[in-house]
């Protein structure tokens, strides 16, 4: 019996102490002597293939290793497009239908087994050619790859893209010969370092689209090696029969062959990502010009120096805001956003950093975020879609300022029209007629709506507006507060709301299938042009699901088409303003907030400037390792 107790005690102690024995600390010896930037990413990375990128987290990660033809100037505001892989700005034909782009000749891919081996047994690499861009655009149009977002921007714009998409459907998914057999007349390699884009219709925003990294070049070798062959177990490769090729997309870190400043060296799904300096990264230097105030903030101290400044970036997946914040407090991260629940302990009522944080050397950066959040109405719905008065009444009942103050800690400003305030056309469009609170008028509008709906036979005479269903994406506390706030605001005018919380895929499914009545959503700019917001209401885009509210206005459509005929933005602005006013009047969406981001920086983090559109600008950030170690941060 005595032994029983002794063994039981030992087993208990063993189990209790098991985590300390069995859980190994991460091996960071390979980072010895290197400058590593530590950060987090807030949700799972869904894609490491440029063409399938459809979410901001994936885009931010991919920005480290993929690059497009163009990018944005890191410091200048308003935003300015500059060449990245392109060798200069494009030559545009007089009719605006042909763009000719020269490619830099010194851009090298990462070394990868797909290129073969050097005599010293290192893997080979090669320089980027125009054909790699042609292949990238062919993959965008590939029916067998889920390229919804990257395809949406060019589907009806690039000559022959829709036809190419249709033709590739006839091939088996694993039959990659379609990339050679089918032509895409809209993207042509003129010579090894010149590419030509031919448009089906004028699209003055093409330059912005070419600044997206989802159109990054891809070598044909990657497809042939990583997707069409497999290890034979003897150190060689054997072809995979077409029917057995399981993937048309890049899903393993070994198959990521980019040109960026960092190479993907480790990806533990849903847990950790490590990117390390690309040793043969071409010569890219820190800008020597910036926006007013940048010099004073020390953002030009590294002007002219070669990029990147850090050797590696170590990112862990932390989805909850509290642990994200704790990692910043314990100096495990170099910069952080401020979670709403601690906002008041960090930021003063005048929206400045509280002294206690400033004394620790922490600094605050506030930057407008080119997005607008809104409550969208399904215009096909027999209640909210049928009655303009109802939508106008609900808009007038909604205290957006209070919403921003209460739910968003004041981190934003009211959206006055569908064009963000930092974009051209916003000022000209002016404040929408319903973008203010007026409960009395709202009640009159609701009464009018009841009459309209009764006349249409949707409700009986004297009946109330039926309960409206509001779908939201997410189940966290912030989403629940948004839902409760909206419910309370609409109740002021006697309209009841039923809340439905969904996870994101479910909400998107409902939206794509038009199975929603109202929902909260928004739009983050893909490029700094009002057209990017207005296209959400262009009726041919209903089929593409970008106009998911199903707004139809023939005059709006006419103006939208008219605007694309003007290559000069100044000529487009008055048209944009007119279109924005139509949206303000018809209220397919109730505009809520244009957000402002608040980023806290540790004192050892230099050159950090938030960019509202571009991803992959981490190459500009510099970490003072000595200062970080001295302050008790990570080595």
């Amino acid at each position: 019996m005595k032994w029983f107790y002794i063994i039981a005690l030992m087993v208990t102690l063993g189990l209790a102490s098991a985590p300390f024995w069995l859980l190994k600390a991460e091996d960071t010896s390979r980072f010895e002597g290197k400058i590593v930037q530590y950060n987090i990413y807030p949700s799972k990375v869904n894609s490491i293939d440029a063409v399938t990128c459809g979410d901001t987290t994936s885009a931010a990660i991919q920005g480290n290793f993929y690059e497009g033809l163009y990018t944005y100037h890191y410091l200048k505001r308003p935003m300015e497009v500059i060449p990245d892989l392109a060798d200069g700005m494009p030559e545009i034909s007089a009719d605006g239908l042909m763009y000719t782009v020269k490619i830099k000749k010194d851009v090298k891919y990462f070394r990868n087994p797909c290129f073969g081996k050097e005599s010293d047994r290192r893997y080979k690499n090669r320089t980027v050619t125009a054909d790699d861009f042609v292949l990238a655009f062919k993959r965008v149009g590939d029916y067998h790859i889920n390229t919804r977002l990257s395809l949406a921007f060019v589907q009806d714009k690039l000559l022959g893209m829709e036809e190419y998409h249709r033709k590739t459907r006839n091939y088996a998914p694993g039959d990659f010969s379609r990339y050679e057999k089918e032509d895409l007349p809209g993207v042509v390699a003129v010579d090894e370092h010149t590419i030509q884009f031919k448009l089906a219709k004028p699209f003055p925003q093409l330059l912005y689209v070419l600044a997206m990294q989802c159109y990054a070049p891809i070598p044909r070798e990657v497809i042939s090696y990583h997707l069409a062959t497999k290890d034979d177990g003897k150190g060689g490769r054997i072809p995979i029969p077409i029917k057995e090729r399981s993937s048309t997309e890049i899903r393993t870190p070994e198959a990521v062959v980019g040109t960026g400043a960092f190479m993907l060296t480790e990806w533990v799904r849903g847990s950790k990502i490590v990117v390390e300096r690309h040793p043969e990264y071409r010569e890219v230097r820190y800008p020597s010009e910036g926006a007013p105030g940048d010099r004073e903030m020390g953002l030009l101290e590294d002007a002219g120096k070669r990029l990147p400044f850090v050797d590696a970036k170590h990112m862990t997946c932390v989805t909850e805001p509290n642990p994200q914040w704790m990692l910043f407090l314990t100096k495990q991260r170099d910069y952080a956003l401020i979670p709403p629940q601690v906002f008041q302990t960090v930021i003063s009522p005048s929206h400045e950093l509280l002294d206690a944080w400033g004394k620790q050397g922490i600094s605050l950066r506030k930057d407008p975020y080119p997005a607008i959040y809104w409550i969208a109405f399904n215009m096909e719905d027999k209640i909210v879609g049928a009655s303009k008065s109802l939508r106008q009444g609900l808009y007038l009942s909604f205290d957006v300022e209070e919403y921003i103050k209460t739910v968003w800690n004041g981190r934003g400003k009211r959206g006055l029209n569908i064009i963000p305030s930092t974009f051209k056309g916003h000022k000209e469009a002016g404040r929408g007629p319903y973008a203010h609170v007026d409960i009395e008028t709202a009640k009159k509008k609701i009464a009018q709506a009841k009459e309209e709906l009764a006349a249409a036979g949707v409700i009986g005479p004297g009946e109330d507006i039926p309960t409206i269903t509001l779908d939201l994406g997410g189940r966290d506390e912030l989403v629940r507060r948004i839902a409760q706030f909206i419910k309370g605001e609409f109740r002021k005018v006697g309209v009841r709301v039923k809340i439905e919380l969904n996870d994101w895929p479910t909400l998107l499914g409902k939206i794509n299938n038009k199975r929603f009545q109202t929902c909260t959503l928004g739009w983050h700019a893909d490029y700094p042009d009002a057209e990017n917001f207005l296209q959400n209401f262009y009726s041919p885009n209903i089929d593409l699901n970008t106009n998911y509210v199903s707004y139809i206005n023939k005059e709006f459509d006419r103006l939208f088409e008219e605007s694309s005929k003007h290559p000069n933005v100044k000529d487009r602005v008055p048209i944009y303003a007119q279109m924005a006013q139509m949206i303000s009047e018809d209220v397919p969406v109730i505009l809520l907030a244009e957000p402002v981001t608040y980023v806290l920086l540790r004192p050892w983090t230099h050159n950090f400037k938030y960019h509202p559109i571009a991803y992959g600008l981490g190459r500009y950030t510099r970490i003072d390792l000595d200062a970080r170690v001295k302050a008790g941060g990570r080595k």
């Binding site: 509290n322 629940q341 209460t406 189940r475 309370g488 039923k498």
Partner: protein
């Protein structure tokens, strides 16, 4: 035969100089409960909660029909958000939440949801458990095998996982008859009921297997009473005390589960004042030192659960003859 036949023989009292009349199981249990001060205190607390819940229902009906009575969701006061508890006004006794709503009122309205869920979940679970348990125990053979297989299978799935799965499944179901919306509180009740009948079923089955061999059941069979009637009139009434005990204990489980489901975002709908929603909301507020919403919800739940547990224990002691002398 009725439950009266199972009563104890007449007992002697007051020194045994005269005989008292016989008492039924129920009458005896009632007498024992009423003599137990703790049981009566707990019953008082439960009744108080029930009255608060009825008050909550009355308030909601008034808000529905009278314009001058604001609905709870209309009571936001953005000038008084996140206020500490104070004696300034009854509204502030337990402080206010992020939208300036009174935490005291929210806690009181939460009683309605908790009691509704606790009651309705057991209304689903107990009859299901008793009927299936009685059928399995009484008829035996393949029916017993089938029912045992059913509850064994269900019991092998972790309860909380099954609950979550059912809640997700209910979200896709349109309202039944346009009234019963399984995506809301009724769905929580049904899900809890569907998950929690197994314990009752097992107990009742075992008890019925014992009862069916007793003399009075054999006698009933001998005189040709149909099996179904025997089960209905002579067996089930004798296991009802188990149902009542399980009802009180299941109530506690349902209240706690509603809180867990709401904490996970799968409980009662957003905006409906419930303790689970309050705890969920307070999760982030604790970071800021706002303790009052969590404290109020947990405190309210603590007293109800404690009262129900103690009362359930005493009820079991009173109704189970075997435990009387323990």
């Amino acid at each position: 035969m009725t439950p009266e036949h199972t009563t104890l023989p007449p007992q002697q009292a007051d020194g045994g100089d005269h005989l008292v009349s016989g008492r039924s199981l129920w009458g005896d249990a009632r007498r024992r409960i009423m003599r137990d001060p703790w049981a009566m205190i707990c019953l008082g607390i439960i009744v108080l909660y029930a009255l608060i819940a009825i008050g909550g229902v009355c308030y909601e009906l008034a808000a529905e029909h009278y314009d001058d009575v604001p609905a709870f969701e209309e009571t936001s006061d953005y000038d008084n958000t996140n206020r500490h508890p104070s004696l300034e006004s009854p509204r502030f006794y337990l402080g206010t939440d992020w939208a300036g709503k009174s935490v005291l009122y929210k806690t009181l309205l939460g009683v309605k949801v908790s009691l509704t869920v606790g009651f309705m979940a057991n209304i689903v679970a107990i009859p299901l458990g008793v009927i299936l348990g009685a059928i399995a125990g009484f008829y035996g053979k393949w029916i017993d095998t089938l029912i045992v297989w059913l509850f064994s299978t269900l019991a092998s799935i972790p309860g909380i996982m099954l609950l979550i799965a059912l809640r997700y499944a209910f979200e896709e179901i349109p309202p039944i008859f346009g009234i019963i919306d399984l995506a809301g509180v009724p769905g929580v009740c049904v899900a809890l009921g569907v998950v929690s009948w197994i314990g009752t079923c097992r107990l009742v089955r075992a008890e019925v297997m014992k009862i069916r061999e007793l003399d009075y059941v054999i006698a009933a069979r001998a005189i040709g009473t149909p099996k179904f009637i025997i089960m209905l009139r002579h067996v089930i009434p004798n296991v009802l005390h188990l149902a009542i005990i399980n009802f009180s204990l299941g109530f506690v489980w349902a209240v706690k589960s509603e809180v867990i489901l709401s904490y996970l975002g799968l409980g009662v709908p957003v905006g409906v004042p419930s303790w689970g929603n309050m705890i969920n909301a307070a999760r982030t507020d604790l970071f800021m030192g706002r303790w009052w919403e969590l404290t109020a919800a947990v405190g309210a739940m603590f007293f109800l659960v404690l009262a129900l547990n103690i009362f359930g224990d005493r009820l079991r002691d009173s109704l189970d003859p075997k435990l009387r002398n323990v």
